[in-house]
Chain length 723, copies 2
C-alpha cells in the first residue's frame, strides 16, 4: 500500500523528466506561453523551477565579467532595498484590503442595521433580508467574476505558495493580473458576508509582490519592462517570494516572527541563515509600515506604532473580584486542553474530509462546465449563507445582559462591549447569535475571547454547526477565500462552548472563558491546516501573551496528531487534488531501499554533447520536458557521435543521435528493462550532466552552432554542463 | 588576501581527510581515547561527527531486522518522551542554578550590607571590603578549581555548542563531568561577584543533557550503562543537542521561540521541519516546567504559571501624567536608535578586539604554565573587580531621590524600588552607583529599564567604563562565564546614558528612558555576539512586548553591520582562536571558481575495496583520519587488486595495495601533480565511496576477513560503501 502511494507520488515527479510516449503533439519551444488558456492544468503541466545554480564555464565567465561591473556589495544593498520595498508594499496592500473591507462592511451593516431597527417595529424584516441579500450577492458576483477571469486567484493561495516554494512552477501564480484579481476579489468576498478570511489572499499578494517587484517587469503589462535585470533567476525569485509570503503573514496577523516561521515551515525546502534574516526584515518592514499608517489613520497623530497588526485579539486579562484566585489558566486546565485538542483535530479532519469530497465533486461536475456555473455556485453560497445567518440570528438568538458599562473598564473590553448587536432585545441586553453573525469575523472572535457576558450554550452550538458546514462549503467556491479567520471563529465558538459546559455541567468555576475560546480556536484551526510551529507563534504574537505558549502548542500538537490519524491538512489535500508533485521533507521510510528504476515508468529523452540542430529542434517540439540529461554513448555503434566528433559520423546520416540511442535501447527492452540502467556507471551510456530547455533554446536562438558539412549543423553542448 | 583566508580555513578542514606526511607516531585504533589528557587540543585533533547516514547493504539489512522488532511509531514516541525529559531536566538545572545563586548572593550581600550599615556610622568600611573580598575570592576559587579540573567547562560554552552542531567533535564537550563542573562552577563565579552571566552555562548544560540523557549511559560514570541502545548515532545526538541548547535558552530567558531560533542560527547546518517542531517542544517543556516550579516556590500556590522565565525584564509601561503624550517610542526615536546601534556595534568591536588580544596573551603566556597560574588569575580578577566596585560605589555614587512610594504603583515598579541601595544617603534617597554594583546583574538591569528616578550621567558613564573593561578582562578567565547578561547590563547603562544626554543636553523631552536602556542593551550585546534573528526574538520574548520588535531588530542589524566592519563576533573569535575548522553557511564567493586541488596540501590515504588486513592495520595505526576514501585502480599494474580479486594478486606480494597506489602515483608527481586528480572520472583511479575508521575497526574486531592464502588475510569493503 505505502509503496504504491510513494510510487504514485514519485512517478508523478519523475514524469517531469521522463518521456511521455503518447504525447506526439507539437509543443512550442518555450513552454510558458502554453498556459494561456484557463483549463484545469493537468499534472503533466507542472515543471520544476530551477533552484539549482548551474555552475558551468560560460556562467563563471559571465560572473567574472559581471563582478567587475557590479560589486557584490552593491547587489547586496539592492537586495536589502528590494526586501524593504516588498515588505512595505505588502503592508500597504494589506492596509488597503483592510480599510476597503471595513468601508464596504460598514456601508452594508449600516444600511441593514437601520432597516432592521425600523422593521423590528414595523414587522418588515423580509425587506431587511432582501437588502442584505442584495448587498451580499452583488459583492460576491464581483469577487466570483474576478476569480473566473483569473482562476488561480481563487481560494486562499497558500497551497500554491507552498508549491512554488517547494520548487514547482504553477502557471500564472505570480502574475500582476493574479495580484489584482486576488486583492480586489477578496474585498468583495469578505464584505459579501461569505465565511472566508482575507489573510490567505494577503499572504498570496505578498508572495506575488515578492516575485514581481524585484524584476521591475511584468508579463501581464508588457509595458512595464525595465532595462534593470537583476534577480531574475528562479533562485532569486524564490528568496523574495519567501520574504513576501512572510510579510503577508506579518501584516495580516501582526506576527513578524510567525511570518518567518510560516515561510520556513510551509515552504522552504532550503534553509539559509542570511535568507532567514532577510525574510525577517521583510516581515518587520511589513508589520511596521502597516502599523505606522494604521496608527496614524486611527488616531491622526502620526509617528507612533500602537496598533500591532490587522488582527488583534486584544489583551487577555483576568478581572475577577477575588484578586488572587483568577488566572488565565492553570495546570488542571492543561488536561482539558489536551482533550479539546483531540476533539479539535477530529473536527478538523471531518471538515477536511467533507471539503475534499466537495472539491472533488466540484472538479468533476462544476469546473468542466461553462464558467457561468461557477458564478451561479458562488451566488448560491452567498444567498444560502446570508439567509441562514439572518434567519438564525432573528429566531434562535437569546437576549443576554451586557455585564458592565463600557465606561468603567479598560479599552479592549469596552470596544468589545460596543460591538454587541441588540436586535429585538431590551436596553442593556444583546442578541448573542446576532452579535456573532452580524459582525465582521474578527470582531466576532473578539466577542468570544473577551465578552464577559455569557453566550448561551444552544446559541454557541447552533452557531458552531451552521458556521462549520457553511465554511466547509465555501472554501473552494471560485472566490478568493482565506481559511484562517473562519476556522478561528468556528473554533472559538467551540472553545467557549466547552468553557460553558464545564462551568454549568461540572461546576468547574475557575474557568477563564477567553482562554478556552482561544484554545478552541487553536485546536480547530490546527485540526484543519495541521501547521505547527508557525501557527503557535502566530497565535502567541496575535495575543501578545507569551504565557499562552504552552497551551497553544500542546493543543496544536494534539490536534495535529489526532487529525493526522484520519487525513492530511486541508492545504495538502488541495495540493493533492491538483496533482501537484510536491516533495515532502522526508521521503517515506520505505523509500530507503527503493531505487529510482522502481518508479520510473517511461523512458528518458536524452541529448548528446554534440547534437545536430535538426534533431534538437525535433526533440524540443515533441517533448514537454524542461530539462534533458546529457549522455555519452560508449558503445561502438554510437560512439562516433560522442568520441570522435561530427566529421566521422557519416554512417549515421539521417538517423539522428537521440534515435540512435533509443533504437539501440529497444533491442534489450524485455519486460522491465529500463533505459535508466544504461546511464549507470558500468554500462555503455555515461551521464554527463543536465541541460535546461531554456538553455537549449537560448543556444538555438543565438545560432550557437557550427557547420558539420554543407547541410548539417550541430551544437556542442558540453561547455554548458555543470562543472 | 581573501583567497588566502579561504585556503587557510579549508585547508584546515581538508586536513581531516588528508594524509599528514610528518606524523609517523602510532595512534590507537579508535581515537576517542586519545583525548584523556587536559592539553590544549591542537587543530589536528578535531574530527567531524558522522551526521551523514551511511546507507549500505548491511545497514539496510540491519534496519529491516530492526524495524520488525521496533516499529517506527515506538521509536518516535520514545523520541518525544526523551525530548520532554531533556526539556524538563534542563529547566530543573536552570532552576537549581538560579535558586542557589540567589541563596549565595543573599547570604553574601546580607552579611556585607549589615557590615556597611554599621560601618558607615563607625567608619570601619575597610572591614566591609574585607568581608566582601573574602566571600568573592572564596567563591571564585571554587569556580576556578572546578574549571581547572575540567577545562572545557570554562567560558560560556556557546562557541563549543556551535562547533558541535556544525559537526565538529570537540573532546569532552558533552560529558557528565563537564556538566557537573559547569553547573556547579557557574554558581560560584556568578555569586563571586564576577561580571559574568549564568545564561551561557545554562545553554551548555542543556546541550550536555540533550547529548547524554537519550543514551542512558555515561563515559564519566561507567556504571551508568544501560542495555537500552537507541539514539547513539551522531545524527541522533545532534538532534537532541539542538533541543537541549534551545531548552537552555528557553529556560534562561523565558524565550522558547528564541531558543529554537538560537539553535537554528548558531548551530544547525541542517534544517528539518520535524526537528524544529521537536526542538520547540523541548524549549516549551523547559520553559514551563521551570515556570511551574518557580511560580510554585514563589507563591506557594502550585499549578499556576505566572513567572515566565529566569530573566524577566518587567513590563514596560508609560506612566506619564499627560495620558496621550507618552509612548514607548516613536518614529523620531528610530533615527536615534540607528545611531545608537552603530555606536553599539563599534563598542562591541572594541570589546571583541580587546578580548581577543587578552585571550591570545592568555593562550601563550598563562595556559601553558602550571595550573596554579590560572587559579591565581581568577583570584586576581575577583579581587580587582570587588575592590573597584566597592570603592567606586562608596566614593563616586550620587544620592538620588526615590521618585514614588512603592505602595502606590504597580508590582513591576514597586519591586524595582525595593532593590535600590541607600548606602550613605538619607531616607528617601538612594546611592545610584551602589544600586548598580551591589545588586545581582539582572536586578541592576531592571533598575536601568524601569527605575523612574534618574541615574546621574557621571555615575552611568563611570559604571559603563568600569564594567566594560572588567567584563572584557573576565571573559576567558578559567571560570564558567556567560556573556549575555553582563553585555546587557553594560549596554543598558549606555542606553540610559544616551537618554539622559538627549534629555539634558538637547532638551528632547518625550524620551522614555526604559526604551533607550533596552535599545542600548540590544546594541551592545549585538555588537559583541553579532547574533541576529534569535537575539531579536529572545529580547522580544524577555520583554513580552511585541511592539519593541522593530527597534530591537533595527538596532541589532545596524550593530551587526557596524561591528562586522572591524571584526567577527566574540564567539567566532574564540572558535578561531581554538583553530576549530568551522564551516560557515556560505562559501566565500571566491570559492566558486576554485577546485579542491587548490587547497589540498597533502596526499590522501586511500583504501581499496579488497584490502589486506595487515595493510589496513598499518594504515589505521599510522594515520589519524576518521574516514578513508575507497578507490579502485583501473590501471594495468594495479588493476588486479580491484578487478579480478585476490587470487591473481601474486605479483604484488609484499607490496600492499595502498603502497601500490602511492608508488604508482609518485611517478607523475611533478610539482603540483596531485593524487586527487587521479580520483576523477577520466583518470585510472575511480572513487567508490567512503569508509569510516569506526567501520573498519568494527570489521577488524569481528574478524570479518577471508583467507587469501595461508599467510595473507583480506577484507572486502565494498558491501559497506554507501549505496
Amino acid at each position: 500500500m505505502a509503496t504504491d502511494s510513494i510510487r504514485k507520488c514519485w512517478r508523478r515527479l519523475f514524469s517531469c523528466l521522463s518521456f511521455n510516449r503518447n504525447s506526439n503533439e507539437t509543443v512550442p519551444l518555450l513552454r510558458s506561453s502554453q498556459h494561456g488558456g484557463h483549463n484545469v492544468v493537468s499534472n503533466k503541466d507542472y515543471e520544476s523551477l530551477d533552484y539549482d545554480r548551474c555552475w558551468n564555464k560560460p556562467y563563471l565567465d559571465y560572473r567574472e565579467r559581471y563582478e567587475k561591473q557590479h560589486s557584490d556589495r552593491k547587489l547586496e544593498i539592492l537586495q536589502w532595498i528590494m526586501t524593504f520595498a516588498i515588505g512595505f508594499l505588502t503592508g500597504m496592500v494589506a492596509l488597503y484590503i483592510d480599510l476597503i473591507v471595513k468601508l464596504l462592511s460598514d456601508w452594508k451593516f449600516g444600511t441593514v442595521d437601520k432597516s432592521i431597527l425600523q422593521c423590528s417595529k414595523d414587522g418588515c424584516l423580509v425587506i431587511s433580508l432582501l437588502y442584505l441579500l442584495l448587498f451580499n450577492v452583488a459583492f460576491v458576483i464581483v469577487a466570483a467574476c474576478l476569480t473566473i477571469y483569473e482562476p488561480v486567484a481563487g481560494g486562499s493561495g497558500i497551497p500554491e505558495i507552498k508549491c512554488y516554494l517547494n520548487g514547482i512552477k504553477i502557471p500564472r501564480i505570480a502574475r500582476l493580473q493574479t495580484l489584482v484579481a486576488k486583492s480586489v476579489g477578496v474585498l468583495f468576498s469578505v464584505a459579501g458576508g461569505l465565511f472566508v478570511g482575507k489573510e490567505g489572499p494577503m499572504i498570496h499578494s505578498g508572495a506575488i509582490i515578492g516575485s514581481g517587484l524585484p524584476q521591475l517587469q511584468s508579463i501581464t503589462l508588457k509595458k512595464i519592462n525595465s532595462k534593470y535585470s537583476y534577480f531574475r533567476t528562479d533562485r532569486d525569485k524564490r528568496d523574495f517570494v519567501s520574504g513576501g509570503a512572510a510579510a503577508g503573514v506579518a501584516a495580516a496577523f501582526g506576527a513578524p516572527i510567525g511570518g518567518v516561521l510560516f515561510s520556513l515551515e510551509e515552504g522552504s525546502s532550503f534553509w539559509n541563515q542570511k535568507l532567514t534574516w532577510r525574510t525577517f526584515f521583510c516581515s518587520m518592514a511589513a508589520t511596521f509600515s502597516l502599523n505606522f499608517f494604521l496608527s496614524g489613520i486611527d488616531s491622526n497623530s502620526w509617528g507612533y506604532f500602537y496598533l500591532p497588526g490587522l488582527i488583534d485579539f486584544g489583551t487577555f486579562e483576568c478581572q475577577s473580584e477575588k484578586t488572587t484566585g483568577c488566572h488565565l489558566w492553570s495546570a488542571v486546565d492543561l488536561f482539558i486542553f489536551v482533550i479539546m485538542g483531540f476533539i479539535g483535530g477530529c473536527l478538523g479532519a471531518i471538515f477536511n474530509t467533507l471539503n475534499k469530497s466537495l472539491s472533488l465533486h466540484r472538479m468533476i461536475n462544476v469546473n468542466p462546465k461553462h464558467k457561468i456555473f461557477r458564478l451561479l455556485e458562488a451566488i448560491l453560497v452567498a444567498m444560502v449563507t446570508t439567509t441562514i445567518a439572518f434567519v438564525s440570528a432573528m429566531t434562535l438568538g437569546q437576549c443576554r445582559k451586557i455585564p458592565l458599562k463600557p465606561s468603567i473598564i479598560n479599552s479592549t473590553r469596552s470596544s468589545v462591549e460596543l460591538t454587541v448587536r441588540d436586535y429585538f432585545c431590551e436596553d442593556g441586553y444583546y442578541n448573542d447569535m446576532a452579535t456573532l453573525f452580524f459582525n465582521p469575523q474578527e470582531i466576532a472572535i473578539k466577542q468570544l475571547f473577551h465578552q464577559a457576558g455569557t453566550f448561551s450554550m444552544p446559541s454557541l452550538a447552533i452557531f458552531f454547526i451552521l458556521f462549520f458546514f457553511l465554511a466547509c462549503w465555501t472554501y473552494g467556491v471560485s472566490v478568493p477565500s482565506g481559511l484562517f479567520v473562519p476556522s478561528l471563529l468556528c473554533g472559538a465558538a467551540y472553545g467557549r462552548f466547552v468553557a460553558l459546559f464545564l462551568e454549568q455541567v461540572f461546576g468547574y468555576k475557575t474557568v477563564y472563558s477567553g482562554t478556552y475560546a482561544l484554545v478552541g480556536a487553536a485546536a480547530f484551526l490546527g485540526g484543519v491546516v495541521r501547521m505547527t510551529i508557525s501557527l503557535t507563534v502566530i497565535l502567541i504574537e496575535s495575543t501578545n501573551e507569551i504565557s499562552y505558549g504552552l497551551p497553544i502548542m500542546l493543543v496544536l500538537m494534539v490536534a495535529k496528531w489526532s487529525g493526522d490519524l484520519f487525513n492530511e491538512g486541508l492545504y495538502d489535500i488541495h495540493i493533492n487534488l491538483k496533482s501537484v508533485p510536491l516533495l515532502e521533507w522526508d521521503p517515506p521510510t520505505e523509500a530507503a531501499r527503493m531505487k529510482a528504476k522502481a518508479i520510473m515508468d517511461s523512458r528518458l529523452k536524452v541529448v548528446f554533447p554534440q547534437t545536430r540542430v535538426a534533431s534538437l529542434i525535433r526533440l524540443l517540439k515533441t517533448t514537454a520536458h524542461n530539462v534533458f540529461p546529457v549522455v555519452t554513448a560508449a558503445r561502438d555503434d554510437c560512439s562516433a557521435v560522442t568520441l570522435v566528433g561530427p566529421s566521422q559520423e557519416a554512417d549515421l546520416q539521417e538517423q539522428d543521435d537521440v534515435e540512435c540511442f533509443v533504437n539501440q535501447n529497444n533491442s534489450n527492452q524485455d519486460g522491465d528493462g529500463n533505459p535508466i540502467e544504461l546511464l549507470q556507471r558500468n554500462l555503455p551510456m555515461k551521464f554527463e550532466g543536465m541541460i535546461l530547455r531554456s538553455q537549449l533554446v537560448t543556444l538555438l536562438k543565438n545560432h550557437a552552432w557550427y557547420k558539420e558539412n554543407v547541410e548539417v549543423c550541430s551544437i556542442s553542448i558540453r561547455p554548458f554542463l555543470k562543472l
